[in-house]
């Protein structure tokens, strides 16, 4: 197992290099001139423009720019944005906010998704099952952007139950954005759980458990749920990695100063170093949590061994 994890971690290095280069190339290919955009309407002297372009290596060819970027990376220098703020500082400021949002989202996803899925799966085709089927279909089919604006308007503005935007009210401010962020995965978790349970209820070993005269509660919890939840838990694990990087829309709508918001702003300002730094970090999170899931899988299912 240890060797397997080490090998997987080593494999992330080429993936990260490849990913960062692709992102770098995409920012490079963006139309428009970032220094002129930065200046806005103010006049910009040719000398200053040339000096800024030289400072950020904007005149170099793509490969040279990328080479310099990677060279700086080796001593943990992720570069700066056009306001001289180090990218590393932006990340360390923004990451805790996004981490909180992700935590809230995953907790809601697990709590609501699992409960709904279990109840629906145990009484398949019952009333509650149909409610879950209809509501999850609805949630999955609505784009997150619409869901974010509608819930902001209804629960934030109309009813005033939640703050409309920002994070001034601590954890409470994360509840509505967290729910919006989790909605798609939540619906998916509910469906996955339902299907998995319905399938396991017919498994031979559940029949054996009944034939052993185990109490019904033991049959359901120990011999049905435990087996059914393996795919669900691994999905939730992988989703942590996806949510950490996928909060761009939610953070923008609810004005939450996380890394999703930062990357959104950076793309608009063509801040190459910021975009590359943050998106590469998102890629890393995604890979890392997928590795965690694979390890978790082996812990939950004894049939899976990696050595």
């Amino acid at each position: 197992m240890g060797r397997y994890v080490a090998r997987r971690l080593l494999l992330t290095i080429p993936v990260l290099i490849g990913a960062s280069f692709l992102i770098f190339a995409m920012v490079y290919a963006l139309p428009g001139d970032p220094i002129r955009a930065l200046a806005g309407d103010r006049p910009l002297s040719a000398a200053v423009e040339a000096q800024l372009k030289a400072q950020f290596h904007l005149n170099d060819p793509l490969l040279v720019q990328y080479g310099k970027y990677v060279g700086n990376l080796t001593h943990l220098d992720l570069g700066t944005d056009f306001h001289q703020r180090p990218v590393l500082e932006i990340i360390t400021n923004r990451l805790p906010v996004t981490a909180k949002l992700t935590l809230v989202a995953v907790l809601l996803e697990a709590a609501i998704g699992l409960t709904a899925g279990v109840l629906a799966g145990i009484r398949r085709n019952g009333y509650f099952d149909n409610v879950v089927l209809v509501s999850t279909t609805l949630i999955i089919s609505i784009p997150i952007l619409v869901l974010a604006f509608v819930s902001q308007y209804v629960f934030g503005l109309k009813f005033g139950w939640f703050p409309i935007a920002g994070i001034q009210q601590g954890w409470y401010s994360y509840l509505l954005p967290g729910l919006v962020l989790a909605s798609g995965s939540l619906a998916y978790v509910a469906r996955l759980t339902r299907t998995s349970i319905a399938e396991n209820m017919r498994a031979d070993y559940v029949r054996t458990a009944r034939a052993k005269g185990l109490p019904n509660r033991t049959v359901i919890i120990r011999h049905t749920l435990r087996n059914s939840l393996i795919p669900v838990i691994t999905f939730i694990g992988a989703d942590v990695g996806a949510l950490l990087g996928g909060a761009i829309v939610t953070e923008a709508v609810f004005n939450i100063p996380g890394i999703g918001r930062a990357v959104f702003d950076a793309v608009r300002g063509q801040e190459g170093a910021v975009v590359v730094g943050i998106v590469t970090l998102m890629v890393f999170f995604f890979i890392f949590f997928n590795l965690v899931v694979d390890v978790l899988y082996a812990v939950l299912d004894p049939r899976i061994r990696y050595d």
Binding site: D204, Y205, K212, G213, L214, P215, N227, D301, P302, R303
Partner: protein, 353 residues
């Protein structure tokens, strides 16, 4: 039948020497599957008894209702779609079907236990075998985890799993097919059941291992005096271990008797066909003799004798005796000679042939 007053409430251990008579009596049991496509009549009035220490083999092709009747006895039919529509199941003098769910549950394990065909899918892949065997003691006798494991090791020893103490924490997939089936047997025998139902226990195993597992079952039965219901379509296994045999066709028992009688002188054309289909060593090079035609569709069982469309001896119209028309009159299971019953209008002729 004297009622053993509240043996369930007082203690989970069951009276090891029940009053004289059969331990298990199945009486006119009917099971239907009610599906969207219609009603499937899986079991249509079967009756049999199993005495202490006796082995009853239930023989029949796939879909003849042998497994369904066993699951009905265990109370593990998937319901819906399965419904027990009639009959009774008496275990030690008490009607199981009249019991509450909780009373039924307490019989599963200490009273009647079951082993299944495919031990790999019948054991839970995520728990160690020791845990799964130990669950019997924990659920029925309130044993502690530690105590349950100790007893699990003893049981694994008893079913001759080598190095039981070392293997108790292994998972089902780490065992060979034969060893897995022994784990199933250990689990079923944990609480000394009075009746063990073995549903095709050796079908998934290769021939040498089959023999070992059957020998083990035979030995354990001798030690414990339990009644064994052996469900199989393997005529060789029946011949070796069974005392009596019940042949099932289309959800009915069509012939019963001692193994010797039924195998050497069948009195029902279907059984004759079964016996003729056994490959013979001295007929090497010849063709096997199958029973022609298809097994009946259980949602549209043929009128009269369900076997008549495939029966070489079926008589109808003028050829039939009064009230014994194979196409319209259902033959009852009736005594043919001492200790033998057959459901055929012309059983005597089959017997004499």
């Amino acid at each position: 039948m004297s009622s053993s007053s509240g043996y369930l409430a007082s203690s989970p251990s069951l009276d090891p020497s029940p009053t004289a008579g059969a331990v298990l009596e199945v009486d006119d049991l009917h099971v239907e599957f009610r599906t969207r496509e219609g009603v499937v009549s899986a079991v249509n009035g079967i009756s049999y008894t199993v005495d202490q220490g006796e082995t009853l083999a239930i023989l029949g092709e796939s879909g003849s209702g042998k497994s369904v009747s066993a699951q009905a006895i265990m109370g593990i039919l998937d319901s819906p779609p399965a419904v027990i529509t009639g009959g009774g199941i008496n275990f030690q003098g008490r009607d199981i079907l009249a019991m509450t769910e909780e009373e039924q549950r307490q019989i599963r394990g200490p009273g009647i236990a079951m082993i299944f065909q495919d031990a790999l899918s019948a054991l839970n892949p995520v728990y160690s075998v020791g845990f799964q065997i130990g669950e019997m003691f924990r659920a029925h006798r309130g044993a502690s985890r530690k105590d349950a494991k100790k007893q699990a090791i003893e049981l694994m020893d008893r079913v001759r799993i080598p190095a039981a103490a070392r293997r108790v924490n292994d998972y089902p997939h780490q065992f060979s097919g034969g060893m897995r089936q022994r784990v199933m047997i250990a689990m079923a025998l944990a609480l000394d059941p009075r009746i063990l139902i073995a549903d095709e226990p050796t079908t998934a195993l290769d021939v040498t291992v089959q023999a070992q597992v059957m020998d083990l079952l035979k030995d354990l039965q001798r030690d414990t005096g339990m009644g064994l219901i052996l469900i199989t379509h393997d005529l060789g296994v029946v011949n070796e271990v069974a005392d009596r045999v019940a042949v099932m066709y289309a959800g009915r028992i069509v012939e019963t008797g001692t193994v010797d009688d039924v195998f050497t002188r069948p009195s029902m054309p279907y059984t004759v066909g079964l016996m003729n289909s056994i490959p013979q060593v001295d007929a090497k090079g010849g063709r096997l003799k199958p029973i022609v035609g298809q097994p009946p569709n259980l949602s549209r069982i043929p009128s009269g004798c369900p076997f008549h469309p495939r029966c070489p001896l079926a008589r109808t119209g003028p050829a039939a005796l009064p009230d014994r028309d194979c196409v319209s009159d259902l033959p009852p299971l009736r005594v043919v000679t001492v200790g033998r019953e057959a459901a055929c209008h012309y059983a005597e002729e089959v017997l004499d042939a």
